[in-house]
Subunit: 126 residues, 2 copies
Amino acid sequence: MIRINESSPVPIYQQIIEGMQREILSGVFAADDRLPSIRDLAISLKVNPNTIARAYQEMANAGTIYFKRGQGAYVTPKSADDLLEQARAEMAKHIIEIIAIARSMNLDRQQVRRIFDAVLDQQEVK
Amino acid sequence: MIRINESSPVPIYQQIIEGMQREILSGVFAADDRLPSIRDLAISLKVNPNTIARAYQEMANAGTIYFKRGQGAYVTPKSADDLLEQARAEMAKHIIEIIAIARSMNLDRQQVRRIFDAVLDQQEVK
DNA sequence: TTTAGCGTATTACTCTACTAATACACTAAC
DNA sequence: GTTAGTGTATTAGTAGAGTAATACGCTAAA
């Protein structure tokens, strides 16, 4: 179930996208499953239907879901795979940012890796 | 020399902050050096003085520079060290983001490191 | 053909961030 | 004391993002 954080600076439609992506990745919605209708989701999340519509529209643009006219929104087959790929790309962006910072600090590879490992430890990644 | 990218979504004052931080880190401005006056910099970068003022003000709030009333802005001693620390904190933020993504992908530490190394290679970090 | 349920389009309101114009107040040097 | 150089305060304009109200058009099923 998606939870909206009203006080977050992250826009609602974005939170919905991320929530849906999570549910698709975790298998709550499988290939060709129907998503909740825009109106239903709007009611249950207590937001305007247009806000849901925007989230769905962006997911459709990204190819994650597709619409059947007059019916509803469905999960694109392979979208879980695509989302994994997208997540990898997100990770790469962060890593590139890290590298840019490291360069301005004149760090070499070994030093960057040391910092990386330290944070991994701190965050208890197994 | 700072260069403003008009078409960037990054606000001008932010670009100025980052540019100045770079120049302080790289030693263009050393401890207690005077920065260009707000007006001069505004003219040379072709922006409004208030925009420069905002950048300087934020740097002053962060302790990177200080003002002498009626005179100008100067580099706080140790600010280069502070900026290094700040850069490390920025890196940590990115790493934490990476970890969050990795968790949603159910990756373990080894897999995360493998991706990290791959991007390091690709970006030719020595 | 009617109806209930879909997504869509249009319009407008609100809020915030950014930038700018302009006038002000302080300091140092002459 | 005047002047030229500092940063500061006030106010306003502009643009963009986000959200909502409302009405519309399509589809499937009764």
